[in-house]
Amino acid sequence: MKSHVWRPLFVVLVVIALVLVARTLLVPADFGVGARGYMYGWHRAGNEQQWKDMKVKYKTAAFCKDCHPDKYDEMKESPHRNINCENCHGPALNHPDDPKSLTIDRSRELCARCHTRLPYPNSGRGIMKGIDPKTHNVGLDCVTCHWPHDPRKEGHKK
């Protein structure tokens, strides 16, 4: 056969070779079919570890308990026993190495999340003790009268 037939074929082969070389250079070695098959598991395997390595910010009451057993025990006897310390005290982050990283929220808005009265008959909200924040001691922090760790006790006295 004459060369005018072969020449474009060579060009095509060179292009294919270039694409293959570029592919081996650009695609990470761990890219491939994972546990969920080609349709759902086609990915870079190293990324799973990257997600696992993300920093844990909320360390739960079990972490607070080691240094603050008194607070932990007070909470466990309280009607607020199911509320995690970090819901109001902020995520532990680097605490205790960096105590300032805690952001304690004493605002009315925080308490109002649960204790704004909403008369909803089919949800747990309907049976919760609630107030109307627009009329209930406006301007005062809730913690002035109510002790958040155990709301049966009196609040902060100034």
Partner: protein, 260 residues
């Protein structure tokens, strides 16, 4: 000279003959068979009890902080919806800021900063429904990804490779539950991953830990002794948008027909 009839016959035969070995390859791909047979390790699922949820929104706050979703941007991996059904048959639904600050107003948020007040006597039923990624067994968001940036792990969680995502947005359109969004900082697709860094360390997700009412629970469906698995297997649980065939793995207790 070949006739038209014999040409058609032969080409059909040829194409059919080619298809047989291809289908064999598909049937006996050992990697795929192994993947389907392998049932070791956990399969993470979620259980939401809508009867217990009070709409405090601590889960949304906890999630945004834990997963570094910009706090003031109006995007969130999980959110809580409020449903108020009135005596005139209307359903009022809202989720101000995804309920990041709970539901500070009694009125329903109808957008543009306006509230629709509802009289207490007009309420037939009202409840809260937390939403998050369903980690579907047939995730449509994964099928549509053109580059393999989103995928499902062996334990059922759908993850996004931030360094590989090109930001085309197909997955955001493909999710029937609307759980995906653009991350305003990384400019890639973002979604709930059941706090993958926590559950793989034996912890609970941030939303489960911040829920004081036990409305949210995460469990392993492959462990028959798991309390969440026991509830899913023995109680009347429901899933969202079953008709889409996505096989969602977030199960709901106390779901109502108004919930979409």
């Amino acid at each position: 000279m070949i006739s038209r009839r014999s040409f058609c016959k032969k080409s059909l035969l040829f194409a059919g003959g080619l298809a047989i070995p291809l289908s064999c390859l598909e049937l006996f791909d050992p990697k795929r068979l192994l993947a389907e047979k392998d049932q070791k390790g956990p399969r993470w699922v979620f259980l939401v009890d809508t009867r217990k949820c009070v709409g405090c929104g601590f889960c949304v706050k906890g999630c945004k902080v834990e997963n570094e979703v910009p706090y003031d941007a109006n995007v969130t991996r999980t959110w809580v919806e409020r449903y108020v059904v009135t005596t005139d048959g209307k359903t009022h639904i809202d989720s101000p800021k995804g309920a990041r600050d709970g539901f500070p107003n009694k009125g329903i948020d109808i957008g543009h900063g306006k509230l629709e007040e509802i009289k207490d006597d007009d309420i037939d039923k009202a409840f809260f429904v937390p939403k998050l990624c369903n980690q579907c067994d047939n995730p449509p968001c994964v099928q549509v990804c053109p580059v393999g940036a989103t995928y499902q792990t062996a334990d059922g969680v759908v993850l996004i490779d931030r360094s590989w995502c090109i930001g085309c947005g197909y997955c955001i359109m493909g999710c029937p539950y609307g759980v995906r969004f653009f991350h305003p900082v990384f400019h890639v697709a973002e979604k709930c991953n059941f706090c993958y860094h926590r559950i793989t360390k034996g912890m609970q997700t941030a939303c489960v830990d911040s829920c004081a009412f036990g409305a949210r629970r995460v469990g392993n469906l492959r462990d028959p002794e798991d309390p969440v698995t026991k509830v899913i297997m023995t109680e009347r649980v429901n899933v969202l948008k079953e008709e889409y065939g996505t096989k969602p793995q977030v199960f709901y207790l106390g779901l109502s027909k108004e919930v979409k």
